[in-house]
């Protein structure tokens, strides 16, 4: 008996529950009444509301990713330069929130930002006027950054602790000061970590939908909310356009992954020359 037989139960499962559902999305996105059409895709692109939501999602995800990188890189760098046992402990502390259900992490900000919430009570205590913080676009941004920051720290830290310390010593011996060493030696070496960090933040950020509902109060739809709305609220009639929207999201995600992979390859090849 050949060993490939062991895979057969899974292959049946895979065809029914992995491949078929994906084909369904493609089928609904490109058909109308059984014949091929681009109409659903055109609707998804030409509707001004859909377009605005798409652009807003990309923009928020980009901003959140940039902020995560700016906040997260220094954290990863400082940890990697510490004594190993201290660093491991702090690293665990920075990563633990990742293991908490993301709805609860988001909910925590709902509590903080609420009109009669803690931050406003604090403001009142300082005799400052209460602010409308919840249900704004900034609240969505904050929630996104808060949720995904550990995903940026994790890969960068992993790359930085593996960095060959003798390279840094060599740079110092050759007369480079701390700043030059950082930009010419450490930063270029950590690019693979930065790239996977960006991927790990940007992709979930662009596909999220619950964060915008809880912190944006449904006022600021993101692409994920739009898709959810098509399927949950509008029902079966909206499947074709909903599938087209999902298809666009999928292509967007795959394209950004391809870009990141290419960037990683380039960094690997010309890391030294680039900087």
């Amino acid at each position: 008996m050949k060993r490939t037989v062991f895979a057969y139960p899974y292959i049946v499962w895979m065809l029914i529950f992995i491949l078929a559902p994906m084909l369904l999305i493609v089928w609904y996105a490109f058909s109308k009444g059984g014949s091929f059409t681009l109409g659903n895709l055109i609707t998804a692109f030409s509707d001004p509301v859909y377009m605005r939501v798409l652009l807003r999602s990309v923009w928020i995800a980009l901003k959140a990713t940039a902020i995560c990188l700016l906040l997260g890189y220094p954290i990863a760098y400082l940890l990697s330069a510490m004594k190993k046992s201290t660093a491991s402990l702090l690293y665990v502390l920075f990563i633990v929130p990742m293991w908490m259900n993301f709805l609860l992490r988001t909910y925590a900000w709902q509590v903080l930002l609420d009109k009669s919430g803690i931050l406003n009570t604090l403001l009142a205590f300082l005799h400052l006027p209460a602010q409308n913080m919840l249900y704004t676009e900034s609240a969505i941004m904050l929630g996104t950054v808060y949720n995904f920051l550990p995903f940026m720290i994790l890969p960068i830290y992993t790359v930085l602790i593996k960095l060959d310390a003798s390279l840094v010593e060599a740079a110092h011996d050759l007369g480079a000061n701390g700043i030059i060493t950082f930009f010419k030696v450490i930063l270029p070496q950590s690019i693979p970590g930065i790239i996977s960090g960006i991927t790990m933040v940007f992709i979930p950020a662009i596909t999220t939908f619950a964060i915008s509902r809880l912190l944006g109060g449904g006022k600021f739809m993101l692409y994920g909310d739009l898709i959810e709305n098509q399927f949950i609220t509008l029902g079966k009639d909206a499947w074709p356009v909903g599938s087209a929207l999902s298809f666009i999201l999928l292509v967007l995600v795959l394209a950004s992954m391809a870009v990141m992979r290419q960037a990683e390859r380039n960094a690997g090849e010309e890391g030294g020359i680039l900087w």
Binding site: Y10, P21, M22, K84, L103
Partner: protein, 270 residues
């Protein structure tokens, strides 16, 4: 002087970032003991939200669903995934590439798209049971993680052991049980743990794939959408303490070992 200032700056930055990450959770926990329903206003210590939580049948049902789906889906995914990995490992190049690429779909796909695709499939199949739907969805997104934790272990282990066992008269099943499985056990275990945690934490796929049944995530979302509820605070506090204790137990061991190693190294240098 400059060095001291830099050191102070470094520590302050790290402390602020930890504060940013933990303050919301801590505030949530503190106010879960608040008597009043409004968060901004501390009226006195009370355990009443915890009592309400324990009495709430819906939450307990949701917890039951979450745990049972996590256990069952992780077990099924581990069995199917391990067998699949063993089969895939001995496939020819082209077929193997096809199966591996399709298997990566659930890992690459945004959860949202995975969830929606399940929703459409189950509707077309006329599958009504919410629990079965959730279970199938969880097994499906778990299997690839098992396969890709087991495959590297198979690559490290020798093919000849299995052949040898068969030559010595083992049936394929016995050879598998006695020779192959023990060799790849670490991969199987990490695949199982990964599956269990992914299932425990899942919200998006469950939200779309099932109807009429709630796991903890779906319950939290449906309550939080309507605003703040102290019961959710109490629930968060319990879950957070559970998670942090577990992680600290797992990690402290390795940290302590590192400390020991550092001490040893220092002694050697001295």
């Amino acid at each position: 002087m400059v060095k001291k200032l830099w050191g102070f700056f470094k520590n302050t930055y790290l402390a602020l970032m930890l504060l940013f990450l933990y303050a919301p959770i801590l505030v949530l926990m503190v106010f879960s003991f608040n008597e009043s329903k409004t968060m901004g206003n501390w009226t006195g210590f009370s355990l009443k939200w915890y009592q309400a939580l324990l009495k709430d049948g819906t939450i307990m049902d949701a917890l039951g669903v979450t745990l049972s789906v996590a256990v069952i889906s992780a077990v099924v995914a581990t069995v199917l995934g391990t067998l699949a990995a063993i089969g895939i490992h001995s496939m020819h190049k082209r077929r193997r590439a096809v199966v591996e690429n399709i298997s990566q779909l659930p890992m690459v796909n945004p959860d949202l798209v995975t969830g929606i695709s399940f929703m459409m499939l189950f509707a077309l199949l006329g599958l009504k049971g919410g629990y079965v739907r959730m279970l199938i969805a969880h097994i499906t997104f778990n299997i690839p993680y098992v396969i890709f934790s087991v495959l590297p272990k198979l690559r490290q282990s020798s093919n000849q052991l299995y052949e040898a066992a068969m030559d010595l008269g083992c049936t394929p099943w016995t050879a598998l049980r006695k020779v192959v499985i023990p060799d790849i056990m670490p991969g199987i275990v990490s695949g199982f743990i990964l599956s269990f945690t992914l299932s425990l934490d899942d919200f998006v796929v469950s939200w779309f794939a099932t109807s009429g049944i709630q796991n903890l995530s779906i319950y939290i979302y449906s309550i939080a959408r309507r605003g703040i509820s102290p019961k959710i605070n109490a629930l968060s506090a319990i879950l957070f303490v559970a998670v942090i204790t577990l992680l600290l137990i797992v990690n402290l061991k390795s940290i302590r070992e590192e400390r020991e190693a550092e001490k040893q190294a220092k002694k050697l240098r001295a």
